[in-house]
């Protein structure tokens, strides 16, 4: 199964029992891993030492994003069925810069645009919103999904924003105009997770139909190029390694699996003691982190 690099237990010390790890993000230089938990974000170094705790937040931190320039950390969540909340933290000073409140329900996904200027959020309220980082103002709302939006991804050139929702669809948007360009409707059940390849030409999605699908992104349409029934239960999280070679998935079947990205060949299946809500490759693609419901984070070599 490979060597365990780190095991961080009891992330949410002070809460009894341990609160789940809902979200993870690496800093661009790979020196820091941020883990979102109940009302807090914990910043860890590569030796699993807690460097800082960013708090408070309204509720569970269900999504974390770190801006490509390494300057900002966005911790998103909010109160289920009531409101969405994003807190923007300055990573260098570890201070709260601003709180953005929007959405009618909590936020499940947050991604920075590659130019570091905007943040996109997706919520159970079926909406996607784009925010100006510097002012906290809402730039626009993308409205086309008819059920909760669970996943978001920008392509590396920033020209496409991709969303995945419980309505079974994956939608491709022009974030600059808010135009929905096209929709992938191949999935047979709700989408939970998305991952974009480093070239920005392919997107992978997974969800309740237990399958990973990979589409090639075109200008006005795309093409399904790979499908695999990857798990025995819903797929919860996906990540595409920055070197483009691997895809990692986690599932409600209580396993994490590593695939060869080119053909979805399964390379490794790692049984888990509980649900893994988030999987994230380190920037150098050497390891990936998995954040679990039981409050632990585990780091695995990515082969």
């Amino acid at each position: 199964m490979g060597t365990l690099a780190l095991l961080l237990a009891g992330l949410a010390a002070g809460h009894s029992p341990a609160a789940p790890v809902y979200s993870l993000a690496w800093s661009p230089d790979g020196s820091l891993l941020a883990a979102g938990s109940f009302r807090q974000v914990r910043l860890l170094d590569r030796r699993a030492q807690t460097l800082a705790v960013l708090e408070p937040h309204a509720d569970a931190v269900r999504a974390i994003a770190i801006s490509p320039d390494g300057k900002w950390l966005a911790a998103a969540g909010g109160l289920p069925a009531r409101k969405g909340e994003v807190r923007i933290w300055d990573l260098s000073t570890r201070t709260l810069v601003r709180t953005i409140t929007g959405h009618a329900d909590c936020i499940y996904a947050a991604v920075f645009s590659p130019d570091n200027r905007t943040l996109a959020t997706a919520s159970y309220d079926k909406l996607i919103k784009i925010w100006d980082i510097t002012t906290g103002a809402e730039v626009r709302t993308l409205k086309d999904h008819i059920d909760a939006v669970y996943a978001l991804a920008f392509t590396t050139d920033g020209k496409r924003l991709i969303s995945g929702a419980a309505d079974r669809s994956v939608k491709v948007w022009n974030p600059a105009t808010g135009e929905r360009l096209y929709t992938f409707s191949d999935a047979t059940d709700g989408i939970n997770a998305l991952a974009v390849d480093p070239t920005g030409t392919m997107v992978a999605a997974g969800g309740l139909d237990k399958s990973i699908r990979v589409w090639k992104l075109g200008e006005r349409g795309g093409e399904l190029i790979n499908t695999l029934i990857a798990h025995e239960d819903a797929i919860l999280a996906l990540a595409w390694s920055p070197d483009g070679r691997r895809i990692v998935s986690s599932s409600a079947d209580r396993s994490v699996k590593l695939f060869n990205a080119a053909d979805l060949t399964e390379l490794q299946a790692i049984p888990q003691t509980d649900w893994v809500y988030s999987v994230r490759f380190s920037p150098d693609s050497s390891v990936f982190a998995a954040g679990r419901y039981d409050g632990t984070v585990q780091i695995y070599p990515s082969k």
């Binding site: 029992p17 809902y22 109940f38 509720d59 069925a81 159970y124 669970y150 649900w275 419901y293």
Partner: protein, 797 residues
């Protein structure tokens, strides 16, 4: 004088007695509770005095009881609870154990029942196939493991917050602290709120293999005789595998099967609305039970009304007991004319001939009805009728069978009826044979039903009266059958091989093959419903084990189902209604009678003819259909014969018989009666419009006796009847050719169509027309038409 008063008082002031239910109570754990019922009996009536009783405990440091009879633990020990009503008192010893043990609500045994009782997981809400607003629970909690993940983990644990239990969406929404499409399901200060909150606060522990398993339910009172307007609180207790009991009254789903008699609210409080009998069914965690509430009618029935009841066998004892309990007077004995027509139609699907009627009416011997029954049972038409009936049951038709297969299946059924094959042997023939379907006609059952799903559903319906189709996808929402039991049962039929060998079809037992449980994704040990499992790895023919279980005299469904079907054939309505729905929550209208008939049938080695004889010989079967002042509305206690329309095939055959003109069925020899057809696909618009079943699915409702316009058109101006009446070789023409007197012609007609002589008034009404030269033939045809389209003809009465 004094003595007289005393006597009168004794007669009119019936003694009262008070009982506390349940009769023993042990409270285990700090959350234990028990709703006690104070039942006051006076004469044959009960009166629920729970709310008016004065409740006390001998030691309130052990347990307390409130004014509504709710008992709760305080400390370990023993105490006595006393109820006082009208100067009467009753007491109950109560044992309290573990009153200070730590208490953790259990997901399977507490959280799921709360969600179920509050309606969260019902079909219209989150139990819908697609869920509601992204939140999907399994229907009525049939899959606790899946529900556990959904509640605690799905959508990034949005519904349950272990870190901040009160903030959990499941509590916020259900208590309506925030908007909820389903409204408020429980209040913040309710036990339901507390169960879920405390379960979350305890870390939301998952369902575990070692959780106490629910074994069954008890209801208090199980039976009661009540007065109109009365109320009765029911208390329900669950028994668990660890030996404990728990009062689950507040989480049970209650349903009344007869709202006109009794309605029941969500808390198990029954209100009596009218006279009759109602069963209040209880569903809790896939366990079911019912309480039977009897409300006698407000009739003055003299003892002589019961004395006149023609007592012939035990059927009459049990029917009479039921009628007495309800203050219903039975109708009088039916006339000989009525009886002979009824018996012929019910037992053999034919009318007696004019000659047979005349002979029977002229016979003065006291045992003539018994002899008539015996003679009917030996007739060829009796064999035809029951062959047809069982062919309906087994769906014999050319829809899926080739002509040769239809005939071999039909012939096997006919041969079985002819030799009066015991019902268990009949069923065993199907499930234990192997080889060519031509040689073993019974094997065509496996040609009709090829996959384990079809075999499971048809077999349970045909031979066990259980509708388990719901459990194919989820636990039965109103019944005891679980999805697991369904696939255990289905796996009994997963190794039936059918192959074609030239012109022959061969049925054989395979040594491998299983059907997977769709959620568990693995095969389960083949197990008959509530039976013992077979080893999954055994290579023995699984059908043999099934057949042994099916026909075991101890099987609670097998004999009961066929007894009910045969009873319904004669009595117009099954003791359990519909006749093929003998599920646990559909009680018989006279359980003692159905049990006795079933017992008797099993003791007589599943002898169907014996059963038929028992029913037909009973005074109950021989009652008139004419109602008296007390039984006009009775359609289920058999105080009179229930009028029923003749089955489609019987109507057609009877028309042929009275007119002397058979119906021609293409491909069948001239003179073949509708009841002799082996195949329901034989084209006949007449039969179709009169409700002939298509034999597509095993369901008694496939045969219809409902009226429709097509029927009216068929009898008013349809060719079928009019051609028979006007045929030159028919009886109308023949009577005139033979030169029978007008009086004799009318008699012949009435005897053959109605099994009775015409009345003077009827004779007079037709005399003039039938004696007028020139219009005699026309008049006779008109008379025939009028008679054959009359209710007296089309109905059995």
């Amino acid at each position: 004088m004094k003595w007289t008063c005393f006597f009168l008082l004794g007669a009119y002031c019936l003694a009262q007695s008070l009982t506390i239910l349940p009769s023993e109570v042990q409270l285990t754990g700090p959350e234990a509770r028990q709703q006690l019922i104070a039942e006051l009996s006076e004469g044959r009536y009960q009166q629920d005095s729970t709310r008016t009783a004065e409740w006390r405990t001998s030691d309130s440091l052990i347990a307390t009881v409130d004014h509504s009879g709710l008992l709760r633990p305080v400390n370990d020990g023993e105490t006595t609870v006393t109820a006082k009503v009208n100067g009467k008192s009753a007491s109950l010893r109560v044992v309290v154990k573990g009153a200070h043990d730590p208490s953790v609500w259990n997901f399977r045994n507490h959280v799921i029942p709360v969600l179920t009782r509050m309606g969260c997981n019902q079909g219209a809400c989150h139990g819908a196939l697609a869920g509601k607003n992204g939140f999907k629970l399994t229907l009525r909690g049939y899959d606790p493991d899946a529900d556990y993940d959904t509640l605690t983990r799905q959508s990034a644990a949005r519904r349950v917050s272990v870190a901040d239990p009160n903030a959990s969406l499941i509590l916020q929404k259900a208590s309506f602290a925030i908007p909820h499409g389903g409204g408020q399901r429980f209040k913040k200060d309710s036990l339901e709120f507390r169960v879920i909150r405390e379960w979350i606060a305890a870390g939301a522990p998952p369902p575990a293999a070692g959780d106490p398993e629910i074994l069954g339910l008890q209801v208090f009172p199980k039976v009661a005789i009540l007065k109109p307007g009365a109320e009765q609180q029911l208390a329900v207790r669950a028994k668990y595998s660890n030996g404990t009991y728990a009062d689950v009254t507040r989480w049970v789903k209650f349903t009344s099967n007869n709202e006109g008699v009794a309605s029941v609210d969500d808390n198990g409080l029954v209100k009596i609305n009218g006279a009759g009998e109602a069963a209040v069914t209880l569903w809790y965690s896939s366990k079911v039970l019912y309480a039977r509430l009897t409300v006698p009618f407000d009739n003055q029935v003299s003892a002589s009304a019961y004395d006149k009841f023609p007592h012939r066998n035990y059927v009459d004892d049990l029917v009479l007991a039921k009628l007495k309990s309800l203050n219903i007077a039975p109708s009088l004995l039916a006339s000989d004319s009525t009886f002979i027509r009824r018996a012929y139609l019910d037992a053999a699907g034919i009318l007696p001939t004019a000659e047979e009627v005349e002979n029977f009416l002229a016979d003065n011997s006291p045992d003539k009805r018994a002899r008539l029954i015996e003679s009917l049972i030996t007739r060829e038409e009796f064999i035809d009728y029951w062959t047809y009936k069982w062919s309906d049951l087994l769906l014999v038709s050319s829809r899926k069978l080739r002509s040769g297969q239809v005939w071999s299946f039909h012939n096997w059924i006919r041969d079985s009826v002819k030799v009066n094959k015991p019902w268990d042997q009949f069923a065993r023939d199907i499930f234990t044979s192997a080889g060519s379907t031509r040689e073993h006609g019974a094997l065509n059952y496996f040609v009709l039903h090829k996959d384990p799903i079809e075999l499971t559903e048809t077999t349970t319906q045909a031979f066990l009266g259980q509708r388990i189709t719901c459990a194919r996808c989820h636990n039965h929402p109103l019944e005891k059958w679980t999805q697991k039991q369904y696939y255990q049962m289905a796996n009994l039929f997963s190794r039936v091989g059918v192959k074609n060998d030239g012109a022959e079809t061969i049925v054989f037992a395979k040594v491998s093959g299983d059907i997977n449980h769709p959620r568990l994704l693995r095969p389960l040990a083949p197990t008959p419903l509530d039976g013992n499992p077979l080893a999954l790895e055994s290579q023995a023919d699984r059908r043999l084990a099934f057949a042994a279980w099916l026909t075991d005299p101890a099987n609670p469904f097998f004999a009961r189902t066929v007894v009910n079907r045969v009873w319904a054939n004669f009595m117009g309505r099954g003791l359990v209604h519909p006749e093929d729905d003998v599920r646990a929550t559909n009680p018989a209208s006279n359980e003692e009678l159905l049990s006795a008939l079933t017992r008797d049938f099993v003791q007589h080695k599943f002898d169907v003819q014996y059963l038929i004889r028992t029913i037909m010989s009973s005074g109950t079967y021989q009652l008139s259909a004419e109602a008296n002042a007390t039984n006009q509305n009775d359609d289920r206690f058999y105080s009179k014969y229930l009028v029923k329309r003749l089955p489609a095939e019987v109507v057609l055959d009877a028309m042929s018989q009275v007119t002397g003109v058979p119906t021609a069925f293409p491909g069948y020899p001239a003179g073949t009666r509708a009841l002799q057809l082996p195949d329901s696909q034989v084209k006949s618009e007449f039969l179709t419009s009169f409700g002939r079943p298509a034999r597509n699915i095993c369901d008694s409702s496939e045969r219809s006796s409902d009226p429709n316009v097509a029927q009216a058109l068929h009898v008013i101006n349809g060719e079928t009847l009019n051609k028979k009446i006007s045929a030159d070789d028919g009886y109308a023409a023949l009577f005139l050719k033979l030169g029978l007197s007008e009086r004799r012609v009318v008699e012949q007609l009435f005897l053959s169509a109605y099994s009775r002589y015409p009345t003077d008034q009827e004779r007079e009404a037709v005399r003039a027309a039938l004696t007028s030269p020139g219009i005699r033939r026309q008049a006779l045809e008109d008379l025939m038409w009028a008679m054959l389209t009359s209710k007296e003809f089309l109905f059995n009465h």
